[in-house]
């Protein structure tokens, strides 16, 4: 299979910047710090009481997992907010559109590029999250569910970032749009989760509906991005 030229180009330029190693170090540093602090308190507590609480080990995993999800929510828009607007700022978008590339190729190439960076973050954090396996308590299904949640989050946030980036010319404005959309979306998810019983929806159904909605919205946002960068014929007026 032939790699998208946009994806390939973005990967080359991305690995040449200090940003990517800095980001990996920062994310894993934050996660490692949380895990080590928790481990320290668990062992301190064990020394003081003579008891080892396995619940506390599970708590380490949940904290690290939640922190990673939060970091992805924060990082994904920052990674993608300049994807299209950056091409506009560099005046390369017009050049790309004069080639054989379809606007879809550009949007999908950008999407895959940002997603690959987020997956790199997830993969590099696996050793830290795996500390929980020292003591057990987390099943493989739970791990897969967590990775699926991260994947859906990454897909959604990347799509939001790309759409924001296609709607406006400046990267700063694109960032603002993306964070607002993500904040509102996740606030709605949290509110729905809190009131799920009042709405008479089971947890499993709520999760599956949220996942389906997020994936559909992601596809829709990528479509909007494609439309935004496609040169369009203006609709003729009735007199026209």
């Amino acid at each position: 299979m032939k790699l998208s030229p946009i994806f390939k180009k973005d990967e080359i330029t991305s690995v040449r910047r200090y940003f990517l190693p800095f980001l990996i170090t920062l994310v894993n540093g934050c996660l490692a710090f949380l895990v080590l602090v928790n481990l320290f308190y668990v062992s301190k507590n064990a020394r003081a009481t003579g008891e080892i609480s396995y619940i506390n080990f599970l708590r380490i995993y949940y904290i690290a997992a939640a922190a990673e999800l939060l970091l992805i929510l924060l990082i994904a828009p920052a990674l993608t907010s300049s994807s299209i607007s950056g091409e506009r700022e560099r005046k390369t978008l017009g050049l790309l559109l004069t080639t054989q590339l379809d606007p879809w190729d550009i949007v999908i190439g950008k999407f895959l590029g940002a997603l690959s960076t987020l997956f790199l973050l997830v993969i590099t954090s696996i050793p830290i999250l795996s500390t929980v396996y020292i003591y057990g308590g987390i099943t493989l299904t739970e791990v897969l569910q967590y990775i699926s949640a991260l994947t859906v989050t990454a897909v959604f946030c990347t799509s939001v970032g790309i759409m924001g980036s296609s709607l406006v010319n400046s990267t700063a404005a694109s960032n603002a749009i993306s964070y607002v959309i993500i904040f509102v979306s996740y606030a709605l998810i949290i509110v729905s989760y809190i009131f799920k019983d009042a709405m008479g929806i089971s947890e499993a159904r709520l999760i599956s509906e949220v996942v389906a909605t997020m994936l559909l919205l992601s596809a829709f946002m990528l479509y909007i991005s494609k439309r935004q960068i496609t040169p369009r014929r203006r609709k003729k007026s009735k007199e026209g």
Partner: protein, 320 residues
């Protein structure tokens, strides 16, 4: 052939193109000139498929622009007035990237890139990063990029703007060589000497319309015909002025360094008669010829010299 028929384009309340009609023959080197804001870039972007007209028909190589976009893009190479660079890419990677964007097959890519980098003189710098290039170097790279898929038509929007004279000369040589290879070249420029030296055809655009179009020598002939007649006279001017005043074809007269400059509306035969009458009136004539036109005078005449001409008329009236 590229043809635009009655093309209109508005941005808000601004008429960027107001019934633009222009025709570019296959193999022509077409100079597209006009003042800032005349609509050159809009017209070029429409030709390249980066924008669409509100009204009118744009045909590129017998295909309507916007209908068969992939085939059309294959035939056009576009050099904008900016480079559009990726600072973190090496020159060779930049070329490679655009070759892939044109879906070229691998074995062909390397040979084509080397040929083009040799042509623009960047082959020995191919492993350098793009941001190490000067403005001239970046513009040469932009030209090489636009030629990567060997397009039949090359469209250049102000390609030499901001370049030093040496680079401009080199750039002109490259474009002249490309024209010899049979490509249709459209070049918009403010440097009118460049256009008159390079181009076979010219279109002058003002306020979204073509105000003059044709073969460059025909256009210059027309300019010559509309230029003033310069009469060099020795001695007293009064009898010459009296004779000129009596001729209804003389529209205005002004004096420049002891020469009389007249705007004359008559034919070649009328001009000969005027000369005869001046000689018969005893005027000592040292010279009688029409001022040679150039593209610059035509451009000013058509697009922006209305105020200057009013001054000339004022001078003429005062001299009379």
């Amino acid at each position: 052939m590229i043809s635009l028929e009655n093309v209109k384009k508005t941005y808000g309340h601004i008429n960027a193109l107001d019934g633009l009609t222009m025709h570019i023959e296959d193999g022509a080197m077409y100079g597209f000139v006009g003042p800032n804001g005349a609509g050159k870039t809009t017209a070029i972007q429409i030709m390249c498929g980066l924008d669409f007209p509100d009204q009118g028909v744009v045909m590129v190589d017998d295909m309507e622009a916007g209908s068969n976009v992939r085939r059309l893009k294959r035939r056009i190479g576009y050099v904008p007035d900016y480079t559009g660079s990726y600072p973190n890419l090496r020159i060779i990677e930049y070329m490679d990237f655009f070759a892939e964007c044109y879906d070229m097959n691998e074995p062909k890519i390397k040979r084509r890139i080397q040929k083009l980098l040799n042509m623009v003189g960047l082959a020995d710098r191919q492993n350098q990063y793009m941001d190490s290039l000067s403005r001239g170097g970046q513009q040469k790279l932009s030209l090489a990029r636009a030629l990567i898929h060997d397009p039949k038509i090359l469209i250049l929007d102000e390609p030499t703007a901001g370049l030093d004279p040496n680079t401009r000369f080199e750039f002109r040589q490259i474009i002249a060589n490309l024209a010899d290879s049979g490509k249709t070249i459209v070049i918009s420029s403010h440097i009118l000497n460049e256009i008159s030296e390079l181009c076979t055809d010219i279109g002058i655009i003002d306020q979204g319309k073509i105000v003059m179009e044709g073969k460059i020598e025909d256009v210059l002939d027309q300019v010559n015909a509309s230029n003033p007649i310069i009469i060099s006279v020795s001695g007293n001017l009064s009898s010459a002025l009296a004779t000129l005043r009596a001729d209804k074809m003389v529209k205005s007269v002004s004096i420049r360094n002891k020469d009389l400059l007249i705007t004359y509306g008559g034919s070649d035969r009328d001009e000969a008669q005027l000369l005869k009458r001046l000689v018969e009136a005893g005027v000592n004539i040292k010279g009688f010829h029409r001022e040679k036109g150039n593209l610059e005078s035509l451009f000013l005449q058509l697009t922006g010299a209305r105020e200057e001409r009013r001054v000339t008329y004022y001078e003429a009236e005062s001299d009379f």
